[in-house]
Amino acid sequence: MSQPIVPQKTYVMVFLGLIGLTILTTGVAFIDLGPFNTVAALAIAFSKMLLVVLFFMGVRHSSGLVRIILVAGFFWLALLIAFTMSDYRTRSWTPAPDSWSSSAPPTHP
């Protein structure tokens, strides 16, 4: 809090950048990049988030503590997803007994 007053122009420029990225991500969806469609979509979303966090939420001027808290939040979310995924990704490494095949857990195609 008690942050410096940012010129209106900066906010408008950031907003225009966000609009540009939204149009970009929509456009990219119509080009076949294979698995990189997902990568591109997430990378663009991440950049948009950074713009909002740094400029609109003012983290540019925030204390280190606020930054650590924010990073910790995303880090813990990443832990949740990564460790859970580690189970699903490796489940099919151990083949199920033949007798289970009719009710085998779903595996990735």
Partner: protein
């Protein structure tokens, strides 16, 4: 300055704090911690989504292609616009421009309202297309042809996530609009000064967070696997 003097000087200073700086620091830390709990709250949903999307990618892709990408993109821009007016209202409070503060708060509410209106229209479309899990699930014709390759069961799961994620997001929007209304009333009573506008800032941070959730929901729900 003694305790009593400090408290007499600022009506906004609560008794447990020594001075306004300490109070503002505590408020800021509090709202950021709250936003972290929100990250984890939505995060559980995002994690489940990630697992099932990976397991049942064709079904999720089929479900995604039922959605209207133009409406999704338009809504993204509307919500980003509301974030701009929100940040401008915080700035107006900072410089002590009460008229502009109220104006931008109302503009934020209007944009939020338009977003919810578009969302409501989209929800209605899902009933028209009979792709509402459990309540109205009977896709046919073109819709069925799109969903069938991935398996109807798993396509239904995609729509469960669609409604759970956008629904929770919409609830957060509605709460945010209530908070904005409260801010408008307080601003009209002239509660905010360039020295004390923490509530505007706190609600602003919340509003931007809700915006960020949508920034991720848009590609995750509308843009699965591309539209080529």
């Amino acid at each position: 300055m003694t305790d009593a003097e400090a408290h007499a000087q600022h009506a906004g200073l609560a008794h447990q704090f020594e001075d306004l700086d300490q109070q503002q620091d505590a408020d800021a830390l509090g709202i950021w911690l709250f936003l972290v709990t929100e990250i984890m709250f939505f995060g559980g949903l995002f994690a489940s989504y990630a697992i099932y999307r990976w397991l049942y990618f064709p079904a999720f892709q089929g479900g995604s292609h039922i959605l209207d990408i133009r409406l999704g993109a338009a809504n993204t821009i509307i919500l980003l616009g509301s974030s701009l007016t929100m940040v401008l209202s915080v700035r107006s409070a900072q410089v002590g421009n009460r008229r502009a503060l109220i104006l931008f708060l109302v503009a934020t509410m209007i944009l939020g309202g338009i977003f919810l209106g578009v969302k409501a229209y989209e929800y209605n479309q899902k009933f028209v297309e009979h792709v509402v899990p459990s309540l109205d699930w009977a896709p046919e014709g073109q819709t069925l042809a799109r969903l069938a390759p991935g398996g109807l069961e798993h396509a239904q799961m995609y729509f469960v996530f669609y409604f759970a994620m956008t629904g929770l997001h919409a609830i957060h929007m509605i709460i945010g609009m209530g908070l904005l209304l409260w801010l408008v009333f307080r601003a009209r009573k002239n509660d905010f000064t360039p020295h004390y506008f923490a509530p505007v800032e706190v609600v602003g941070l919340y509003w931007h967070f809700v915006d960020i959730v949508w920034i991720f929901l848009f590609p995750l729900l509308y843009l699965i696997g591309g539209r080529y």
